[in-house]
Symmetry: C2
């Protein structure tokens, strides 16, 4: 769909955009502009003249457009883990009489870690109830304060029905937080329609904004002004440059800002978002399903040793396909050695991200041919593919 | 001292490095390397092959060297406000029986805002006691849990005696947090010798790492393993890539990491730190005092309307000189119009950062001549310099 707008290395088929998206071709010139024309020439004046100070909101609106958020309801900054902390602490404060945080075992561990750290410091008898992803709905009840889920499972690609679960949770008076790390730019999301209170996510996966690009947080506009931020930094103050000694939250989503925004990361994000201009998420989703179905079909035909871990029904899958194989680690290493980049999650999960912006049928066929060759010629058994190293 | 290693715009004398340092000349090539050779070509492999994952510690050691921290005791990431939150929540947990956070009215407001937000969410009857900077020592007592101060006042440049205050605080069993935002790269600091428990700071001021570059946190090595982080993100986990569902803090300073590090900001930080290689902070301090004394002397001679706000004794001053003048806002605007960039803080403070890495006597003389001209010819009274706009 937009392949020519990415820098893709020679000889590489990139199936790991669910972890870190590839570099937009224009990122280099956009970054040089920020460095040389803005930081270099404007110096401190860049905060106003290059509009650095408003980028956490102006760029966020372009992210928000991809996940169905109204203008002015999303802000960028920090890491996803910090945004989880902000959302969860605000959500718990909305239900002071309830003590249960419901989540599932398919949530990204960092979200659960943040919840553990938060309730440990609050010392208010909160507890985390962790259930199987398929048991979430039957565990929605009036003792649950907050439901916190990642929509698309980072290992399996299994996708929750965001609308339906949110609706049921709200019938029990539960505040809902969705982690959209594997959704934004991957599947259509309509936060407004869902009525969920909070969403958070990152921009370095399907949004392709580069390593360590900032996270985002959405708060439903009708509740944002009631939030007293736990991370009450100066850029969430209603008048940060008055330098008052007392914190007064800014109106609206600005109060979820904390500290100085990462302007150099924003340059790459700006470049990556311009690729999305005019792209329809509906079309992305259709292409993602076409390519994923082709990938599953070809892999099952050519590599019968692999077992599909992702849901077979494309409607229950994000934009990622996972297979299990006992020696999956070595297979992924061998694939990378041949230019097909996927990744691995212990104990036996091989993950492949299907990002239609820069992948097409030729890539899928070529990748699976290499995979078949690795299996048939047992290339994965070579000693160099047995050594375990951290795979990120 | 290193002027040739910076990009300084033609016709500009930059006296605002206390707010945002100028761009190191090599930042552009270093950033292009990260973009094109690392992100562009390595893609996800950059986390290992380009050592992105270890940069929060490896780059932090180079920052730590400038503030007297042992290797492995500093980590980079997030914003300064988030690092304040981490330090303060950990410090309060070390003194559960004490409820007072002592700070002063010269602290940067965001540090106080974070404290307010934190104690609001903890609901444990903590309170913030705010005193005049000159009254800090007499308010150190056994009911104080934590002393949290910014060493160098962002408005006045007044500098606390870090060693002496820490020593006295410790005699009362108080945990000490120093905000070194205006100290790192500006004045010699010896965290090890001070025995203070925590230090935090930013890298975009005197360290010149660019807009939104990451913050740092130091924790005294003998206490770090007792800290249970409030912001318990996955990269502070002892084995983040095991994806356990339970948080187990990493040994040492790594537990103060939270989420995915900002690799593009790190590229600029790497470039800026390479300027510091072989620079002695003692020498920087001597030059800073020479240039500041010259600046004060010349301003007082040529612009008698201005009143020195900073301490006259250089030993009580950081690397910044502030003057007050009723129409300071217009003077700063007029100065910027003539290429002399300082900044303004309400109601009447004109701030000038004296950074010896890229300033010399010629700059000081030239800047004050322009200042004198603006005053004598009343250029600051022109209508275009009266309009108030946000000055960051």
């Amino acid at each position: 769909m937009r392949k020519e707008q990415f820098h893709l290395p020679e000889g590489v088929i990139y199936l790991d955009g669910n972890s870190l998206g590839p570099m937009p071709a224009r990122a280099v010139t956009r970054m040089n502009q920020t460095l040389q024309e803005e930081w270099g020439e404007m110096l401190i004046r860049g905060w106003n003249e290059a509009e650095w100070m408003s980028q956490p909101v102006s760029l966020a609106d372009r992210v928000g457009a991809l996940i169905g958020c109204p203008l002015g309801s999303v802000v960028l900054g920090d890491t996803l883990s910090v945004k989880v902390f902000q959302a969860l602490s605000a959500a718990l404060a909305m239900r002071p009489d309830r003590k249960v945080i419901l989540s599932d075992t398919g949530n990204f561990p960092s979200d659960l870690y943040i919840a553990q750290g938060l309730i440990g410091s609050l010392e208010q008898d909160h507890r985390i109830k962790l259930v199987d992803p398929s048991d979430v709905e039957q565990n929605l009840s009036k003792d649950v304060a907050v439901l916190m889920l990642t929509q698309v499972d980072y290992r399996t690609g299994r996708m929750h029905d965001l609308q339906k679960i949110t609706h049921t949770a709200h019938q029990h008076g539960i505040v809902v937080i969705w982690d959209l790390a594997h959704s934004a730019g991957a599947v259509p999301v309509d936060m407004s329609r869902s009525r969920a209170e909070f969403a958070i996510g990152c921009t370095y996966k399907y949004l392709n904004a580069g390593p360590g690009s900032p996270a985002f947080i959405y708060v439903r506009p009708d509740i944002v002004d009631q939030i007293i931020p736990a991370l009450s930094g100066w850029l969430g103050h209603k008048a940060p440059f008055d330098f008052d000694l007392d914190y007064q939250p800014a109106p609206g989503i600005q109060r979820m800002r904390v500290g100085t925004p990462p302007i150099l990361q924003f340059a790459a994000l700006d470049a990556s978002l311009s690729i999305w201009d005019g792209v329809s998420m509906k079309e992305v989703r259709e292409r993602s399903i076409e390519l994923s179905e082709l990938f599953i079909c070809e892999v099952e035909k050519r590599c019968p040793e692999f077992e599909l871990l992702s849901p077979r029904d494309p409607q229950q899958r994000g934009s990622q396909v996972s297979f299990v194989f006992e020696h999956g680690y070595s297979v992924i290493r061998a694939l990378i050695g041949q230019g097909v980049i996927g990744d691995f999650r212990a104990p036996n999960v091989m993950r492949f991200g299907i990002a239609p912006l820069y992948l097409d049928e030729n890539d899928i066929h070529a990748a699976v041919e290499i995979m078949q060759d690795i299996m048939q010629r047992e290339i994965w058994k070579r000693p160099e593919f047995q050594i375990r190293a951290a795979v990120t």
